[in-house]
Amino acid sequence: MIRLEDVHVRLGQREVLRGVTASLTERRVGVVGANGSGKSTLARLVNGLVLPSSGTVTVSGLDTRRHAARIRRGVGFVFTDPDAQIVMPTVAEDVAFSLRRKGLTREEVERRVREVLERYGLGEHADHPAHHLSGGQKQLLALCSVLVLEPEILVMDEPTTLLDLRHSRQVAALLRTLPQQVVVVTHDLPMLEDFDRVLVIDEGRIVADAEPAAAIGHYRKMMA
């Protein structure tokens, strides 16, 4: 459960979000909007990477201003560019990095890492250097490193922008199977077709909030 109440965000001189109020309870929530409309900032509000200049953001009842660390443990975040998100030199090590402070035995860490890599088709790349993976595989690795922690909420900032059609379809199909609540910021409109709810952001405000067909229709008209 994500609640935003009259959220304003100012970055330097620019007001990026100007009074956003919403409560997101649906399992699949999409966010669309033009470049610079404030949608990436909206995504970053959910795990406290960006704090509101005024207004409040609460996740499962916790205020992101006071409990950012705790919220981040429950909210996984996938960035557009996986190269920035992968911090360890090899595939398995990057997934294991997520588990470093869980107090698990080495065997248990290895087992969980292997399991998540197998599930998303990276099993045979476990010991490969991360920079040898293709763009799509890197995004899958970033996703594995987040999902191994079994977060309650998954936020993705344009996860398919850098991917080819096959890999973006793979990511979209994968999203359908996840048990978590998922919030996806994207330009990939077909991916949102079977979502539960889509928000359209323009110049820092929510200008449409409906089921996918209506919201995407509004967005297309707006961009025409």
């Binding site: 960035f79 560019d81 190269d83 920035a84 998100q85 030199p89 090899t90 040898h132 987040v146």
Partner: protein, 201 residues
């Protein structure tokens, strides 16, 4: 580039199973020994030992060559200079010393995962805690450095391509500015990702 990063070759040899600390200590001892060996004959023996170690590790010829390849021209130059200013035995032994030391260091990287090296480093740096330094952060710094080498190398390729596309490949400024800006942007994104992955907790 791949000689430096993620050079690990999976395997089950004795060298792979040896703890990282033991390998690093062994590396220090054998490099010291290389410096103490005087006669070319003794160094030839050392060379044979290194070849045997490589064979025992089972990493393959290609991986072995990738370790020594970056110093090949340096080795040739060193040999040439020594040959002019000293004599053949001196030239042969000093060149062999350098190549063998590099090969041994390479063997450690080939048979040890970065995470194992990190864990070892973290243990060795534990006393740094008394100076107010966090050993985990120091070892993270090391692995982020290793990880950033290929990322920055990609960035260099992209900047070069963009320069060529615009026909300004001779301008140092058109190379340096986007490279520095790109590196800083990457640093920002990496910092954000580390925060999202709970580093601040």
């Amino acid at each position: 580039m791949s000689g430096l990063t993620g050079a690990y070759v999976p395997g089950g040899s004795l060298l792979h199973r040896l703890p990282a600390g033991a390998k690093l200590a062994g590396l220090a001892v054998s490099c010291t020994a290389l410096l103490l060996l005087r006669s070319p004959a003794a160094l030839a023996g050392a060379a044979a030992a290194v070849v045997l170690l490589y064979a025992a590790s089972g990493v393959g010829v290609a991986a072995a060559w990738a370790q020594v390849r970056p110093v090949r021209w340096f080795a040739v130059a060193l040999f040439g200079v020594q040959l002019v200013f000293a004599d053949l035995p001196t030239a042969a032994s000093s060149t062999l010393r350098v190549v063998l030391a590099v090969a041994l260091a390479g063997l450690v990287t080939l048979t040890t995962r970065t995470s194992a090296l990190m864990a070892c480093l973290e243990r060795c740096l534990a006393p740094a805690r008394f100076a107010g330094l966090d050993p985990f952060r120091l070892s993270l710094l090391l692995s982020l450095t290793l990880r950033s080498v290929p990322v920055i190398a990609d960035l260099v390729t992209r900047v070069r391509e963009a320069q060529r596309a615009r026909g300004i490949e001779r301008s140092p400024r058109a190379f340096a500015v986007p490279l520095v800006v790109g590196a800083l942007r990457h640093a920002d994104a990496l910092g954000e990702a580390l925060a999202a992955r709970g580093l601040d907790d």
